[in-house]
Structure formats: C-alpha cells, structure tokens
Amino acid sequence: MSAVTDQFAAPSAPVRKTPKGTFDLVFRNASFLAALFVLVLLAGIMASMVIGGWPAFREFGFGFLTSSVWDTQNEQYGAWPAIVGTLSTALIALVVGVPLSLGIAVFLTQLAPPWFKQPVSTAIELLAAVPSIIYGMWGLFVFAPLFAAYVQIPLSNIVEGMPIIGTVLYSRSPSGLGILTAGIILAFMIIPFIASITRDMLDQIPSVLRESAYGIGATTWEVVRHVLVPQAGVSIIGAIMLGLGRALGETMAVTFVVGNANRLSASVMDPGSTIASRIANEFNEALGLQLNSLIALGCILFFVTFVVLVIARILVSRVKRY
C-alpha cells in the first residue's frame, strides 16, 4: 500500500496518506454488526417476554388465556378480561378512526387547494407527535367529563331496558371513563398514521388514471370510489392494520381513561382494562407470580402486535416502503 502511495506523491508536497485498509474493514464490520443488532433486539424482546412470562404460562397453562380471574391474594391470574379490553378498544378505535383518516386523505389529495395542503398535513402529522400521556390527561380531564354529561347519561336514559342495546350501551356509573372513551381517544392517536400513509398511497397513483376518469365525466367522488380506492386498496388495508398495531399497544392514554377495572363487563360504557394498561398499573407493585403474569401478558401483546404489524408491512410495502 505505502509503496504505491510513495510512487505518486511528489517528494516536496505534503503526502496524503491513504487510509489504512484496516479502517475500511473495521467500518464495514461495525456497520454490519449494528445492522445485525436490530435483529438481535427483536429476538431479545421475544425471548425475554417468553422467559419472563414462562412461570405464569407453566402455572396456569392454556387457562391463562381463558380465565377471567385476577386475584393477587390467591395468586390466580387470567388474561381474558385484558385481552377482550385490548381487542375491543382497538376495534372501536378503528371503527371511529378509519373513516376519519380516509376522509382526511381524500381531502388532502383531491380537495384541498395546493397552498392549503402543507399546513393541514403538518397539523395532522403533529397529532402523532403529541405524547401519549398528554392524550391521557386530555381524555381524563377534558374529554371524559364532557362525554359523561352529553353522551353517557342521555344515552343511558334512552337505552335503559332495551334488549342488547340496553346492555351494550348502558353505563352503570357514568363517569366518562371506560372502554368506549379509550377507543375514541385511541382513534385520534392512530388517525395521523393511517391518514398520512393513505395520502401517500393516493399520491402515488399515476395521474393519467385520474385524468382519464375525469375525462369520461366522472365526479370527484366517483374517481375516488372507482379509480383510487381499487388501485390503493391493498395498501390502505395495510395502513389500517398499522394503525391497529398502534392501537393494540398504546399504554399511557388508555391507562388514564379506560377505568382500570379487572372484571369483564358487557357494556362498552363500563370501565375495563387492556393488556398495556394492566401492565402499566400493576407493574411496580407486582412481585413473584404476579410479575410473571404481567410479563406473560406482555408476551401475548407482543405476539398479537407482531402478527398484525408483519401483515401490515407486507401489504403496505407492495406500493411503497413505510
């Protein structure tokens, strides 16, 4: 190496050293190891959840999933109420959040005048930057009281005694806290993710398609309905699943507003708990088997979100990486 350098360097000029081959090797290996570290992280999270939760799985077996007892006195733990709470809050978040997100994406790509697009997109994306705990405080102190006064109480008076609806929508203690409130707040937290991915998907569609539809006399709505949605459909489903992944694991906001009840209720107005809120609530006081059971809950959450996110990423990556 040095012989080559000497050959070309003028004797009087300051010699520029060729970097040593070792640095090249070290740099390459360091970046390779850093990239491998990402794989190790995921494997580590997976392993720590399984190992940490193992005592609970071994003690309760399959019954851990189906039991709804959570009794710290007698060391009996079951995940069912938390699983139901997690799924129902996430489902409500999707029911509320998906139409809103799709409407926003259509507004941003088809309706908004060009000068208006940027500020609106920024505002929507800033919704994602607001920390989870702030959503929790807003939910607890601002949204929940209003929700109790203007929705829960009037609604309970109307539906009381009705079959099915009377059970699902009746609130025994209208405090504003409960599964439905948590779901609505989660909806606002996942909107920016679904809306901005859908917006990018719609922007990716070649404008020739859109123009030809307008050319045969289609209205904006018909272009969205018959051209854009079929084109971007798969990736929009991916975006929705990405939002679902967020909603399943969201912790602080839910912990504030879900009510943290350890029992199962048939009404979405009643307090409940999710896997994440249960862990956040009890973790610091938990010892022994309770701690293992909480980590086992984390393990269940990990596998559910992992599957959802893998499907979401595969669907979204068909059009563009996200």
Partner: protein, 296 residues
C-alpha cells in the same frame, strides 16, 4: 304544456339526464363535505389539546417551576427542576446510545447491503420495531437490566429510550443515504478512496442534514415516552445522583403520577410539565420538518 313546441321536446331528455346527474352530484357534494368535515374534526382535536395545555399549563408555570425540586405528597409548593434535568439527561443518554448504532445500521442497509436478502430482512424487522409498542421495550429492558441488577436506574431508562430511538434513526439514515446520487460515490471511488472513506466523507456529508433530521425526530419521539420509563428509571423527588443508580426523576413519569393525585399543587405541576414537554416536542418536530423541506 299543451303546445308541442321544440323547446319542450328538447327539455324532455334534459330532465332525465339532469336527474341522474343530480344524484351523482349530490353524492359528490356529500363526500366533499364529509371529507372536509373529518379533516376539520382532526385539526380541532389538535388545537383543543394545545388550547387545554396552554390554559391549564400557563397557570402552573412560574419561576419556581424551573428552580425547585418536585414536592413530596402533601408538601406545598415545589417545582419540576429535577424532573426537567432528569428528562434531558435520560433523553440524551438514549440518543447517545441510539445514534451510533442507528447511523451505522442505516449505512449498512443503504451502502453495503444493497440487494442482499439479509439486508431486506433487517429492513423489515426495523420497520416492525418502528411501530412496536413502547411498553414492550420497557418490559424488555426491565428483564435484561433492572431485574439482574436488582434496581431501577437511569442507565436502564436511557437504554430503553435508546432502543425506541434506534429504528427511527436507522430508517431516516437509510432513506437519506439513498437520496445521495450514485455518481458522487463513483467520483470518490475513482480518486482511489476505499468504501469507508467514500461513505464517511462523501455520502454522509451529502446526507448530513437529513441524518440530523432523523436524530431530531428520534429525540422528539422519545422525549415524551412514559411507559418504558415506569419500568426502568421510575421516578423520585430528588436531584439525580450522577451515577444514575436508583430512580431518576423525569417529566413524563412525574406527570403520570401527579396528574391523578389529590394534591392541587401536584396537579398544577403536572399541567405545567405537560405544557413544557408538548411544546418542546412540537418545536423539535417542526424544526425537523423544516430541515427536510429545506434540503429538498
């Protein structure tokens, strides 16, 4: 009506044609109104939250907020000084952990691993980690750092935040390096520079502002994280000791504990803390966005 004038003859098809168009037009208008309305709803939620923070948070802000430590239960007065300092220390510890790993991993994906199956897998897994629930990262660090060392610590908190920041930095670094045109690299290589030099002094330099944006976004992402800190750094009401062993006070966990407590001064401090943290995160995100747009 009785007169079959050419005008009525012409009107007939127009009426039916008009009726079809009317329903299509109504559907179109309805959709436009709904889409605009939905956008307004989402934006007003943002302003509603910001307004609430300003109204309730400004009342709790005073000089003592920044000079006094957090009060114990039932103690009057107090501030957030230790929590603010603790949050800054933990956040920067997290970024210090994440930046070298994230930048190097992103570099590998963009420069060395092009087209390799392993790089595709790593990219995919990184995207999964990007949206993995932060509470799981907290549990993971609890299992690997808090339980074995028998105690909460600022180090564990910093590592947890770092793990959350890594995928953000990997992702933005890779995206930004991909934007650097190939001929720039070829020019460097033609001068005889080995790959590492081309990357560090040509590609990195060209992508610098984008990579800084990634780090800023990661900073904004972890500054408000609460869940992972509950299991790792926890909280306390004292100045942190420089060795970072034991609970380290920080804003998010302080807000979490103070918000639903029955003491009025605690609640006021929770609001003040929320205002401080949200404003700093929003400012960071907006600066990061500006850099990206300026660089384009």
């Amino acid at each position: 009506m009785s007169l079959a004038t050419p005008s009525t003859v012409r009107k007939l098809p127009e009426v039916t044609w008009g009726r079809v168009r009317q329903s299509r037009r109504t559907a179109d208008r309805l959709m436009k109104v709904i889409a605009t309305g939905f956008t307004l709803i989402a934006i007003s939620v943002l302003f509603w939250i910001l307004g609430m923070l300003i109204v309730k948070g400004l009342g709790g802000l005073s000089a003592t907020t920044f000079t006094q430590v957090t009060p114990g239960p039932g103690t009057e007065g107090g501030g957030l000084a230790n929590a603010i300092v603790g949050s800054i220390v933990l956040t920067f510890l997290g970024i210090a952990v994440a930046t070298p790993i994230g930048v190097l991993a992103g570099t590998y994906l963009a420069e060395y691993g092009k087209g390799s199956k392993l790089a595709d897998l790593i990219r995919f897994i990184n995207d999964i980690l990007l949206s993995a629930p932060s509470i799981l990262i907290g549990l993971f660090v609890y299992v690997i750092m808090v339980e074995p060392f028998r105690g909460y610590s600022g180090w564990a908190g910093g590592v947890a935040l770092g793990i959350i920041a890594i995928p953000v930095i990997v992702r933005t670094t890779e995206d930004m390096l991909r934007l650097v045109p190939g001929p720039l690299r070829e020019a460097g290589a033609a001068l005889g520079a080995p790959p590492s030099v081309v990357i560090t002094s040509i590609t990195w330099r060209a992508a610098k502002s984008g990579m800084v944006t990634g780090i800023l976004l990661a900073l904004a992402r972890i500054a408000g994280e609460t869940a992972p800190l509950i299991f790792t750094a926890l909280n306390n009401n004292f100045w942190f000791s420089p060795n970072l062993i034991g609970g380290v006070s920080n804003l998010p966990v302080t807000i979490y504990q103070f918000a639903s407590a029955p003491y009025e001064n605690w609640q006021q401090l929770a609001w003040a803390g929320s205002l401080i943290i949200t404003v700093s995160i929003l400012v960071l995100s907006i600066i990061a966005r500006r850099i990206v747009r300026g660089g384009k």
